[in-house]
Symmetry: C2
DNA sequence: GTTTAGCACTCGAAGAGTAGGAGTGCTAAT
DNA sequence: ATTAGCACTCCTACTCTTCGAGTGCTAAAC
């Protein structure tokens, strides 16, 4: 009666009850009833009291009933409250830490492989789908750019970026450009672009980089255009998804329909990539770059993922260059466990990236 | 009685019956009974006669009963007979041809992308999982090899192969090698290896390619070793799988268990790659390079694919360099349709590869 | 000898009915 | 505010039954 309406704060006991409901449902996959709650957690009250509390929690939208005479399951909002203020994230056991460290193989030469490794490990450890976004390279700058002739009409643009990443692209060029001409162009472009962040490089920047007048203009223009597309392509987002088949092992997706929708959506990886990127954008606006992004159930704006949760963390290639790594699992998951797993994988990944340099 | 026992040849009517059973089962997904057969195909005999024929076909192992009082379904052997001698493969309709051609986008610069495109198209058209093996490059030879310094301790080995493929690998090198030293090494190695097929290049070949004595031997040896690993890596097989989620749409995999096994196996792509490569090896031994490889049900030596069929064709990058493209679908598929689809995709891919050069 | 009609039998799929039980909300007493 | 008690709900699992498609076999017909 005397309580505020708009920003209803849960009292301590309600929090306890919600906490217990989430824990129980996550571990048993059964709607939890007042009786089960009394039996498994030591509330000093009767089941009737709990029933009242649960009725209120339901009215407030934290839990819901699958049908009239069943126990309660957490709603999206319930999970959200759990994640935001109820759970405690503790460290992984030494064995788990070891398993992860052993699994992320550092005997690779490219960051990309390291990231893939970390992603595979994450999926294996959690049993869910894991994903990694390639580093967002727009803030990184060119340290080298070479255009190599491959054969008449084809050249390879090789770019080395400040984050230590190497990108390249085969491009088509006019047939009759000579090696020397190409070398000149390559040097001029490199000289002009070195040190520039990718997102500041426009077609104009590239076109104005060569002042040599010996090369016929149309030829030059085409080469420069191709170089530009190569640079833009280096900046493109890639996503790497791993462990889709593991979703079929989960009771949450035992109904073919759900599984189908889920895998269908995940198969369009560019869509997922776009979404993750958007999420990242939101987080950055709010200045939450270093923390986790957690989306639960309906909060995910992707069809087919209504029963999933999405958790990602940020790894760093360098100060200004980062990507995301995380998982997509069922809403009904051990959030604190999974978060610490992601956290540890992220940390391990960051360390091994540093070592690689 | 008077017939041969060992190589039992089916008489015409038995062939007709088997043909009809396969067709019917493929289109309805219901075990086929004698009555259904009479109704839908015009056999000029009674159902009783067909029952006798079917009993014999069963005794010979071409068809089988899911349970005592059900119709018959083709056995692996039945499908095999159907594929080998009963079906006729006809051309795709112009619309289908167009759909495929339109889908394989040729506005890409690298063969790899073209192959990916073709694979995606194939999955979309058939509704099954499609796959492509990267070209087997061992027979192709180096036309260029450059080692570029990226930063102290890191270099990029770029290889251009006769098939028009570009491969590269970042390798670690001793910190204190200078640009000039590296340039010398790179040129010497390139000169020595150009024109050699990949499978003839050994560590020794690479090590003996530099005769320059100015570079301290341990340094040189390390660089050459890394170059060698890069070359070997270029020769590695890659597989590209597409459309796994489509398998969940098929009634054949409606039981979660089957689907799980299947996707589980497919998730280990290197295993699938190994198997396809082995198949290709067998086909080459028998001199069947240019035709299709078809494996049905138990013929596939991969766990979880007992209810699948595997069909691949060969695409060519150049005379001696080829890879495979094909599908994995349920045993119960329209073989002739699928084969013509694969065939047409393969042809289209081959043409577009030529254009790309 | 091959084909066919007839028939008894098998066995899975589908539906109806039933019992059980976990859980709820409400009321009245503590 | 808490709790015991109770009537009520409704899902789950199980059994029982029916239905029908399909089979193999036998004996007659061609």
């Amino acid at each position: 009666m005397g309580k505020g309406r708009r920003v209803m704060q849960l009292d301590d006991r309600k929090k306890q009850v919600l906490h217990a409901i989430v824990d129980d449902y996550v571990s048993t996959n059964e709607p939890v009833g007042s009786k089960a709650l009394i039996e498994r957690y030591d509330f000093r009250v009767s089941s009737a009291t709990l029933r009242n509390e649960m009725a209120e929690l339901e009215k407030l939208g934290y839990i819901e009933k699958p049908h009239t005479s069943a126990g309660r399951i957490p709603s999206d909002r319930g999970y959200r409250e759990y994640v935001d203020s109820l759970m405690t994230v503790d460290q992984l056991s030494p064995e788990e830490q070891l398993a992860i460290q052993a699994n992320i193989d550092e005997s690779v030469d490219e960051v990309t492989d390291l990231i893939k490794n970390a992603t595979q490990t994450l999926s294996k450890q959690t049993g869910f789908v894991s994903l990694a976004m390639s580093p967002r390279l727009r803030k990184s700058f060119l340290t080298q750019l070479k255009i190599l002739m491959i054969e008449p009409g084809k050249a390879l643009v090789v770019m080395v970026l400040s984050a230590g990443v190497v990108k390249d692209k085969v491009v088509r060029i006019p047939n009759f450009i000579t090696d020397e001409q190409m070398f000149k162009i390559s040097s001029a472009v490199e000289k002009h672009l070195t040190g520039k962040p990718l997102d500041e490089i426009t077609l104009v920047t590239v076109e104005t980089s060569v002042t040599d007048t010996e090369i016929p203009n149309p030829l030059l223009k085409q080469v420069l255009y191709e170089a530009y597309t190569a640079i833009k392509q280096a900046d493109e987002l890639n996503i790497y998804l791993e462990g889709e088949h593991r979703m079929l092992e989960l009771p949450d997706f035992a109904s073919l329909g759900r599984a189908r929708e889920l895998l269908g959506t995940l198969s369009d990886s560019s869509m997922v990539a776009g979404y993750v990127n958007e999420m990242q954008g939101c987080a950055e606006e709010k200045g939450q770059e270093d923390t986790y992004m957690i989306r639960i159930g309906q909060e995910i704006a992707l069809e087919g993922l209504e029963d999933c949760s999405f958790i990602t963390a940020t790894y760093n290639l360098s100060d200004s260059v980062s990507g995301n790594i995380g998982i997509i699992g069922p809403k009904r998951m051990e959030y604190s466990k999974v978060i610490s797993q992601i956290d540890f994988v992220k940390k391990t990944l960051n360390e091994k990236i540093k070592k690689l340099k």
